[in-house]
């Protein structure tokens, strides 16, 4: 998995690519929680390059979202491939996360 932290029109974007599993999720957690600690909002996560996610990756996003809630933070997930989106759907997390097709859609919401 590769992580790129970007600024897009003044907003923080984490762009991920590759596979998120038990091996790579600790690096994702460190990146995400660093921004959550700074109370960054909205926090955009571009997942269109992510081809695989396991429960450890899902757990990182759930933890991040839960920690953002007390300060009204918004975590927006963008560009999920069908196979990744299906995991969110199966685990009923598509009802909890803000999921967008594109960065522009996420920025305009």
């Amino acid at each position: 998995m590769k992580i790129k932290a970007l600024d897009h029109k003044g907003m923080k974007v984490i762009a991920l690519s590759g596979e998120i599993d038990m091996y790579s999720s600790p690096a994702l957690r460190e990146e995400l929680m660093g921004l959550v600690h700074e109370k960054v909002t909205p926090l955009l996560v571009d997942l269109k390059g992510v081809t695989y996610i396991d429960s450890s990756g899902i757990a990182v996003f759930v933890e991040g979202l839960k920690k953002m809630m007390p300060y009204g933070g918004r975590l927006k997930l963008i560009g999920l491939l069908e196979s990744v989106r299906e995991i969110f759907s199966f685990s009923k997390l598509d009802r909890v996360f803000e999921i967008y097709g594109s960065l522009e859609d996420a920025l305009n919401s």
Partner: protein
Amino acid sequence: MKDIVVIKVQSNPKYLSIVRGVTAKMGEIYGLSDSATEDVRLAVDEACSNVIKHAYEGDITQNIIVKFRMSRKGFEVLIEDRGLKAHPESMEGRDLNDIRPGGLGLHLIKRAFDIFTFDDRKKKGNRLRLVRFRR
């Protein structure tokens, strides 16, 4: 007659991608659909992650043996370790309506496989047997 493939990997999470790759290939050879292959790949990954976390308590120097057995009846995966005994009676995935980190892996394993059992004849460690019947 069963076709059998066996792989042995170190209990280091960096090798989970190898397990996934082999699992996906075995699913393809067996003739699973693309979506079933993805489900099985994820389930085997989750099961091996559980071995690292729970049976080996994060020790990355141990071994995991994954055996694939393919027959007309179904697609079978045996996952063996020599770590702490699992307690299947206390294994329970979280309620999917209870949104919190963790507790999802077991659901992902059980949706892919029709049989999820631990072989209690194994003296040291665990042998998890997963079977997906031909559909």
